[in-house]
């Protein structure tokens, strides 16, 4: 261990000695080069100042300022204080912000912050204020649509309006007297062309329940219109932009309504071949559940006939063999039928499952005292 450390110091010493030697050599070299420069400058000066006897003074160029130039002070623009500072609280905001425009920080008299700071080192962890805030400028604002603005607009267009018709006070009344709602749009803007592609779109909306349809026709109508029918709101919505003119499109959607209506009342021959998988709802009588239930009840009936005593028998079943339609009409079977149908048509939840359970209990005479 000791030997190693000694060796190390030796190496360090050695390297130091080398450094010192190197530095000395550099110094020598530099002094030599300086001497050469001096000689040159002296030779140059000989010609320019040969008349004076005194020692000439060596002038280092740029050391002393030879002439003083007075520059004019740069003109700087004085930024006036932002507008919101001088706004009074009584002012009319609609005059400040008359139309839709980008967010302007100097004109908005309330503090607002927007943006995202990643950590505490960014903007000292504070969400940027409105000053020169790009995030606030990006999004649309509604500063031109305050209640005061709307009031002003309304006031301006009021004398164009007519009186609201009597008897249409509620939405229900409107819906009753005007069942079809058609929507078209006009687009106006300052530009070289007056046409707008979007202006030709026309649509109508109405409630399916307003049409006179029977079960078959309604089912066919719903299948024909597809996703244009919304079962939750019972609305049918037809929209078209296929014709070049608005009036043509409006005529077309009205034609659609007529065509689909009369088509759905037709009963075609191929509709008779409707399979179980084509059914729109679960119908117990067509399904296997009906069959198994009937055969089960028949076998129970046969069993009950052979056994004596009343215990555990299905009392509601008739003594003699009868047609399945009679058994179907029994209240217990009807309750079961309804329960199965709601289980499929409404969907499974605690209520429908419990209803099904109760129905099966009654159907097969199960009892549990718990």
């Amino acid at each position: 261990m000791a030997s190693v450390s000694v060796r190390k110091t030796f190496v360090v010493l050695n390297s130091r000695a080398r450094d010192i030697k190197f530095i000395q050599q550099r110094a020598l070299h530099m002094s030599l080069s300086l001497k050469g420069q001096d000689i040159k400058s002296i030779e140059n000066d000989k010609e320019t100042s040969s008349d004076t006897d005194e020692f000439r003074v060596y002038q280092i160029e740029g050391l002393k300022r030879t002439s003083s130039v007075r520059r004019a002070e740069r003109w700087s623009k004085r930024v006036p204080p932002p507008r919101y500072r001088s706004m009074s609280t009584e002012q009319d905001w609609t005059d400040v912000w008359p139309t839709a425009s980008t967010f302007k920080w100097s004109a908005v008299p309330f503090p607002v912050r927007q943006g995202y700071v990643e950590n505490s080192s960014e903007n000292e962890g504070v969400i940027p204020s409105k000053y020169a805030n790009l995030e606030l400028m990006k999004g649309p604002n509604f500063l031109h649509l305050t209640p005061a603005h709307v009031q002003k607009h309304c006031k301006a267009i009021k004398h164009f309006c007519t009186k609201w018709p009597e008897g249409l006070e509620t939405d229900e009344q409107c819906q009753k007297h005007f069942p079809v709602e058609s929507v078209t749009s006009d687009y106006i803007y300052a530009g070289p062309s007056l046409t707008d592609d979007r202006a030709r779109v026309a649509s109508i909306k109405f409630k399916l329940s307003d049409l006179k349809l029977d079960y078959h026709a309604r089912d066919k109508f719903v299948r024909l219109v597809g996703d244009r029918y919304n079962p939750e709101t019972d609305d049918v919505f037809f929209e078209s932009n296929r014709c070049p003119l608005k009036s043509q499109n409006l005529e077309y959607v009205k034609f659609l309504l007529t065509a689909v209506y009369f088509e759905s009342w037709k009963n075609e021959s191929w509709e008779q071949g409707k399979q179980l998988s084509d059914m729109e709802t679960y119908v117990w009588n067509h399904n296997k559940s009906h069959k198994t239930c009937m055969s089960l009840l028949a076998s129970i009936q046969a069993k009950d006939k052979t056994t004596e005593g009343e215990l555990g028998k299905l009392n509601y079943l008739p003594e003699n063999e009868v047609d399945t339609s009679v058994i179907c009409g029994l209240p217990e079977v009807q309750q079961y039928k309804v329960a199965v149908e709601t289980l499929f048509n409404v969907g499974e939840n605690m209520e429908t499952l419990n209803a099904y359970k109760m129905a099966v209990e009654k159907l097969l005479n199960f009892k549990s005292d718990v």
Binding site: T292, L296, S299, K303, G312, L363, L364, F366, K367, S368
Partner: protein, 405 residues
């Protein structure tokens, strides 16, 4: 003047002081000499006794009063139930050094149905459903124990999903019908399970018709069930057929001999719902097998048909037995699918809810009693409430959370 006021004040102060002192002495509780005359409720020396156990170990005698209480299952009955209990539950029972089960309402409900049943009618079907880990399997075990005590023959499928999926399983073409497939190992396992569950109940049961296995081997009419089981276990090739024979004979003889047969199938939806290409069983040609093509499943489906009597079928649906994209809901029709519903309909759906507050508390107290919860905070009321909240009172979640902390 000032002096007089001060005097008055001091006298008032002294009076109130004395009054205060008096009132203090009057309120102060003196150790009553005759405590027998005291009407005050006696302060409890320790926490109130937490009742989470019942001495009624016979599941047949459980009533609504026992709901939420634990009862211990003796070892000889545990041998019957063991195969149906989930391994993590078994491990827990082993750690607790006793096998305890909780009496719960759905099990009592099921027992109520069974007690009032007319066995001469075609087999009634009961279907347990509930959220994952809510105790469907344990409800089934409770009922199985009941029926076992009553001397019923138990036909139990602990986990039907085992038969319809798997990767390295031996799948052989059925010796009985070429378009069906046998699972020799699973069939043998089930035969063992069946024998273990019905020890002593199968004596005297004999086949009623002749079964020809091969040219040289056959089982004459009158062969005992034990022999059939032994044959199936020694000749694995025919184990699936042996299962079929046993089930068929049980169905036929149940009415003749007045047997009582309990068919219990856990996760019955595996019988009716297909598995995806990856996990489903495949034959040698890598063709995916439908559940109905597997002879075991085919035979057990027959047990669930209402064309035989003197039996009861109890099934449970579970989300795990369905393919991964069909597990959103826990309701029976969704899990069974149209085919399964049509096969089981009309059944009695029995909802297995998660723990009530009483049951959850009883479970936590049981864990504390078994030193399973050792954390001091877990033993406080607040800790118990936290456990209930975090687990959402789901039995499996509760056990899982208590095992973690």
């Amino acid at each position: 003047m000032a002096a007089s006021i001060r005097q008055k004040l001091s006298s008032v102060a002294s009076r109130t002081n004395s009054l205060l002192r008096k009132s203090v002495t009057s309120i102060e509780h003196t150790p009553c000499v005759c405590s027998c005359y005291s009407t005050a409720a006696k302060r409890l020396e320790q926490e109130p006794r937490t009742a989470f156990r019942t001495n009624e170990t016979d599941p047949r005698k459980h009533t609504i009063d026992h709901v939420g209480l634990y009862y211990s299952v003796p070892d000889e009955e545990m041998a019957v139930l063991k195969t149906g209990v989930h391994p993590w539950h078994l491990r827990m029972m082993k750690s607790f050094n006793e096998s305890c089960m909780m009496v719960r309402k759905p099990a009592l409900e099921l027992k109520g149905y069974l007690d009032k049943l007319n066995l001469k009618h075609p087999v009634p079907r009961f279907l347990l459903y509930g959220r994952r880990g809510s105790g469907k399997t344990m409800t089934m075990q409770h009922t199985i124990q009941c029926c076992h005590k009553n001397g019923w023959i138990i036909v139990h499928v602990p986990w039907a999903g085992q038969w319809v999926r798997g990767w390295y399983k031996e799948v052989a073409v059925s010796t009985y019908k070429p378009d069906r497939y046998d699972l020799p190992a699973d069939s043998a396992e089930w035969l063992n399970h069946f024998r273990a569950q019905n020890q002593g109940k199968l004596t005297g049961l004999k086949t009623t018709s002749e079964y020809i296995w091969t040219k040289r081997e056959k089982a004459e009419a009158g062969t005992s069930f034990d022999e059939i089981i032994n044959f199936g276990l020694s000749r694995l090739k025919f184990s699936s057929d042996c299962v079929g024979v046993l089930l068929k004979e049980l169905r036929e003889q149940a009415e003749l001999k007045g047997l009582k047969v309990l068919v219990a199938v856990d996760s019955v939806n595996a019988f009716y719902v297909q598995w995806n290409q990856l996990n489903a069983l495949k034959n040698i040609e890598k063709k995916k097998l439908q559940p109905g093509e597997i002879s075991l499943v085919h035979n057990f489906k027959k047990m669930l048909n209402p064309d035989w009597t003197h039996g009861v079928a109890i099934c449970a649906v579970s989300e795990e037995a369905n393919d991964e994209d069909r597990r959103e809901n826990f309701t029976p029709v969704y899990l069974l699918g149209q085919e399964g519903f049509e096969a089981l309909d009309p059944f009695v759906p029995i909802f297995v809810p998660e723990y009530t507050e009483k049951e959850a508390l009883s479970n936590i107290n049981y864990f504390i009693d078994r030193n399973w919860i050792q954390n001091a905070h877990g033993k406080t009321d607040e800790g118990k409430k936290e456990l209930m909240f975090v687990s959402n009172r789901n039995p499996f979640n509760l056990a899982k959370i208590c095992a973690q902390s």
